[in-house]
Symmetry: C2
Subunit: 202 residues, 2 copies
Amino acid sequence: MSDKPQTRIQAKNRAAILTAGLDTFSQFGFRGSTLDQIAEAAGLSKPNLLYYFPSKDAIYTALLERLLDTWLDPLIAMNADGDPIEEIMSYAMRKLEMSRDYPRESRLFANEILQGAPHIAGHLSGDLRKLVDEKAVVIRGWAAAGKIADVDPHHLIFSIWSLTQHYADFDVQVRAVLGKDDWYADAGAHLDGLLRARLLPG
Amino acid sequence: MSDKPQTRIQAKNRAAILTAGLDTFSQFGFRGSTLDQIAEAAGLSKPNLLYYFPSKDAIYTALLERLLDTWLDPLIAMNADGDPIEEIMSYAMRKLEMSRDYPRESRLFANEILQGAPHIAGHLSGDLRKLVDEKAVVIRGWAAAGKIADVDPHHLIFSIWSLTQHYADFDVQVRAVLGKDDWYADAGAHLDGLLRARLLPG
DNA sequence: CGTTCGTTTGACCAGTTGGTCAAATCAAGA
DNA sequence: TCTTGATTTGACCAACTGGTCAAACGAACG
């Protein structure tokens, strides 16, 4: 929004607060997180924290907005003029990489949705729905042209979201069941096989 | 555990508390829920609620235990002697029905896992892992016998969990994007097509 | 040096939290 | 009816919550 000039110390502390908030909110949700918790994680006193952000809600909202800005980039990048199967597959793989590289962001989003999306309900039925509908048209076009098998575009997208985000959101369960911490390679291979089998035309 | 005889009024109030707790905990998580909230939803006063359960934690734990008892039933029911593809498919369909019929239970579980599974970590690496490993052996046997395509059993199970639970846990998002409330039939058809394409041998 | 302005903090506040307790109420049997 | 035990509640508490504020600190600049 407004980009007032920031001193180095402001930039550093704001960043520290956002990181601490991400850690905390992504684990305990909005109501389950406390300012003291976030302040301690950021290495600041509580009043100091409130010097940089006016309220707990402001920290949370800032995080959500930053998240929404980047969260849908991979879907936006899906190109109607590319090779259909490769476009869909690389979208899925990019999402899987995000689960590996940004699990806290994934869990923050999951928490928000689980609680009924009180802060971003409008975004879901606005921007998000519009974007998904657009891409659904593209996918339906690919299917109609016989480039991929006939598939419900919306539910295909839901499948990619759920399959990939599961590894970030349910990380504890995945690691407990597998008995190891490194799921990425196997998950990638599995996801590739699962989606390709469904998408190959004929 | 101990089944002391319960009066009708005890049974009724305990049930009301558990229902209210399920509503609340599944939406706000453990730390985000308050006893006052639960008491009001149960139609009881807070001290009255604490007459039936010794603490907030006890309500939450009771709910989680009741959940774990039934949550894995569909997976347990997967029969090594049945038709492989139909066994896997009906497992997936049963899980999808559970997302439709017991979304609060699904969200309660999701919340617990998101927060690092503090109450059921042992269960995950114990009972759950054992059960999944057993079924993985069965699935691997089916693949070795050429009854289904070669697939990573653990990640296949993760796929079924994520694909089905997504509709309960991310219900708000699903309904916002679809623009309608009724996802069950379409999700079932999609899931059937997705899994069958991957599992058919040859 | 002194001023100025961005930064930090200790003390504080009102409201909420999980939980306690003694007293009151109720239901049912003797 | 009276008694007994189960049930319910208002009053209360200590700890914690998000948030405020005046005072103190800090660094850069004249």
